[in-house]
Assembly symmetry: C2
Homo-oligomer: 162 residues x 2
């Protein structure tokens, strides 16, 4: 599809991150299952619930903007999750697995942080304040999830006989 | 390759981001060429020079750690750059192109920010302080580049008849 203005770009980006969030909903339970640390497992599980809320926030945004509630294949998240799977396939040691999965999850968070940042800035510019507000609520949770992962990384690394 | 401990993960991550940096060195000149705003073109050009320095910092890290100076295919950057190319192919309007390229470049920056953050934390844990220092110098430049892009996005959007 050709994108001729910022409105088209915003629509594209919303459908891109919608696809990404839905992929993340599929992957988080697998990561929770592989987590050795109970705290990390719980972090993945609670972020799964948040992520389902992010999908709903996007659906509300689609309604506000009267655009199709559909995902557009997001090559970036595909690549990021492919790397996560590689790491998970190639590690046996539980502590190393946790460290690798935290890194993978933080790459996912950073992708979402940059995309929602862009979406909020474009939505504001186009006067879609309600959409900007919904996406800001999601972004705040992504930041918090990333910070929680940084803290878990530190405690995981400290337990680890590196 | 199987990864059995944090040292293996660190090696993997360094080779992953080395591949990514080299891809970015190839893409930035194309983005600079497509930029409509002179300021954005200059930002891409000056970040290209910085990126060449990041490649050298990684080569120094490989020497310190006595590991192979080779890239490992980074699926994440492949996906992120594929999306950047899609955006660049599907936009004609110069202002919209600039907005789309800034978003794409920020996705690249965020990927690098998360990877270098992880690398620094693992390098410190393993006592590779010299490597941590080199990667911190790179990370500081990635943060600055991301902030510069945020400012450029605001001024680009303000000029734009959205």
């Amino acid at each position: 599809m050709a994108m001729k203005d910022l409105g088209d770009l915003l629509e594209h980006m919303l459908q891109d991150i919608y696809y990404a969030e839905k992929q993340i909903v599929k992957e988080l339970p697998k990561m929770a299952e592989k987590a050795d640390s109970a705290e990390l497992r719980q972090a993945f599980e609670s972020h799964l619930e948040e992520t389902k809320g992010h999908v709903e926030n996007l659906e509300r945004a689609f309604e506000h903007l009267d655009i199709a509630k559909k995902g557009e294949k997001c090559e970036a998240i595909e690549g990021i999750l492919k790397e996560a799977k590689q790491i998970m396939d190639e590690i046996d040691d539980p502590d190393t697995m946790d460290a690798g999965m935290i890194a993978a999850a933080q790459a996912v968070e950073h992708y979402e942080i940059t995309r929602y940042g862009t979406i909020i800035s474009w939505a504001k510019k186009l006067g879609h304040d309600e959409v900007a507000k919904l996406m800001q609520a999601t972004l705040d949770q992504e930041y918090a999830a990333d910070q929680k992962l940084t803290k878990l990384a530190e405690s995981t690394l400290n337990q680890q006989a590196a």
